[in-house]
């Protein structure tokens, strides 16, 4: 089985968030995720895309489908060259927010996916990678 090639989408405006949700949904269906898992990963992608737009000043997302033995997954990397996150622990704290939203962006999305990694450097940008595997 050959996995679908990686697709890159820009995150520069409001409507890009909707486009990302739709692509993540399609890929999650191809990976045969359950309806609940699809919804979880789409919601996480929506949160993170909005973060990239709001805090990172825009950027891009790269979506592909990794495999791990018999399991197929969906992976999304949200990349921005924004200001970065000075205090990571604080940003991951429940309910903490520096902008619009309910402060659930990072901590909430982390609970919706199987793998969550965050690379950030002040002044250089932030990359958040999420993976959700088929069960």
């Amino acid at each position: 089985m050959t996995a679908a090639a990686a697709i890159e989408l820009p995150i520069g405006a409001d409507e890009d968030i909707v486009r990302i949700r739709q692509l993540v949904r399609t890929r999650a269906q191809e990976a045969k995720l359950s309806l609940v898992d699809q919804t979880k990963v789409v919601t996480a992608a929506s949160e993170l895309a909005r973060n990239t737009l709001t805090y990172g000043g825009g950027g891009r997302v790269v979506i592909d489908m990794p495999t791990n033995g018999r399991r197929v997954g969906i992976r999304a990397r949200f990349i921005d060259e924004g200001p970065g996150i000075p205090d990571l622990d604080l940003a991951l704290t429940e309910g903490w927010t520096s902008g619009k939203g309910m402060g659930l962006g990072l901590s909430g999305s982390r609970r919706l996916v199987d793998e969550f990694t965050l690379d950030t450097e002040v002044g250089r940008g932030t990359t958040v990678t999420i993976v959700k595997w088929s069960r």
């Binding site: 359950s34 309806l35 609940v36 018999r70 069960r135």
Partner: protein, 283 residues
């Protein structure tokens, strides 16, 4: 599994020149242990195709079955092993399909003056590697079957029953793992939408143990039901499970819990405005 590539090791010539007798012998050898469970015509088609692909791969000069040249062979073999696994053949019967080609080739080599030990070793190594491939494909297919059955079993063991108009219940029995709890959770919420029932009862009288994750899933189900506009009660918590829940520090908050399914039903009925009175004749 790599064998040094040598374009002129005589293997492809050998296979090509005796292609017909080889496939015939191969079909014959494979058919015997299967005792008619696969028709001869089908075997001829399967193995004929496989032989062609194998020959084409050998003719590229590659002697590594992980190579791109063998992609077609691997695909055909996976497909074949998968069919055998699903049809209930044993791993031995499945792998014999490959190893009997080895025997057929040996017989040809024995009768061939020009062929020698080098060819024998190469063919042997190639087919061993393909045989292992068959095993893997077979095991993979079996695992898939087991997964499917487990999923079906899960569906069967967690029925959602209607107790009253607008009251649904899931009686849970046995061991709860997070996978099963998740399935229950989704199925129950789905039933609420489909039936329009506003009360759900998760009865865990038959559950032997609850860990943190499971308790949390139960709690999440009740919270999700509330978000959807329904109420979910958890009933039948045994004393030792109650202790575990308290020890684990899990807060059930404002989720209603009842000692027995009967209490939970009564609660649900009252909430939906039904009065339960004992008839006079019942006394």
């Amino acid at each position: 599994m790599t064998v040094a590539a040598g374009r002129d090791d005589g293997i492809s010539g050998l296979l090509r020149s005796s292609a017909r007798s080889l496939t015939e012998r191969w079909v014959e050898l494979t058919a015997a242990p299967l005792r008619g469970r696969v028709s001869r015509a089908e075997l001829e088609r399967e193995l004929g195709e496989l032989f062609e692909a194998f020959l084409a791969a050998v003719e590229t000069g590659s002697r590594d079955v992980d190579d791109e040249a063998y992609a077609e062979v691997r695909a055909l073999l996976s497909e074949l092993s998968r069919r055998r696994a699903r049809a209930g053949f044993t791993p031995t019967e499945t792998a014999t399909g490959v190893f009997s080609l080895k025997r057929a080739v040996f017989e040809v080599i024995e009768g061939d003056e020009g062929a020698g030990i080098a060819e024998l070793v190469t063919v042997s190594q190639l087919l061993d590697a393909l045989g292992l491939w068959t095993f893997e494909a077979y095991a993979k297919a079996r695992e898939e079957v087991i997964d499917e059955q487990a999923a079906q079993l899960l569906e069967l063991t967690t029925p959602v029953v209607k107790l009253w108009d607008g009251v649904l219940a899931v009686p849970l029995v046995g061991t709860l793992d997070s996978g099963r709890t998740q399935v229950v959770m989704e199925k129950l919420l789905e039933s609420l939408v489909n039936t329009g029932a506003e009360h759900a009862i998760i009865d865990i009288t038959g559950v032997l143990a609850v860990d943190t994750q499971v308790a949390q899933y139960l709690l999440k189900t009740a919270t999700a039901a509330r978000l959807m506009g329904a109420e979910c009660t958890i009933s039948g918590i045994r004393p030792h499970i109650a202790q575990t829940i308290v020890e684990l520090g899990i807060e059930f908050g404002d989720i209603t819990t009842k000692a027995s399914l009967a209490d939970a039903l009564l609660h649900a009925l009252r909430r939906s405005g039904v009065d339960v009175v004992r008839g006079r004749t019942g006394r």
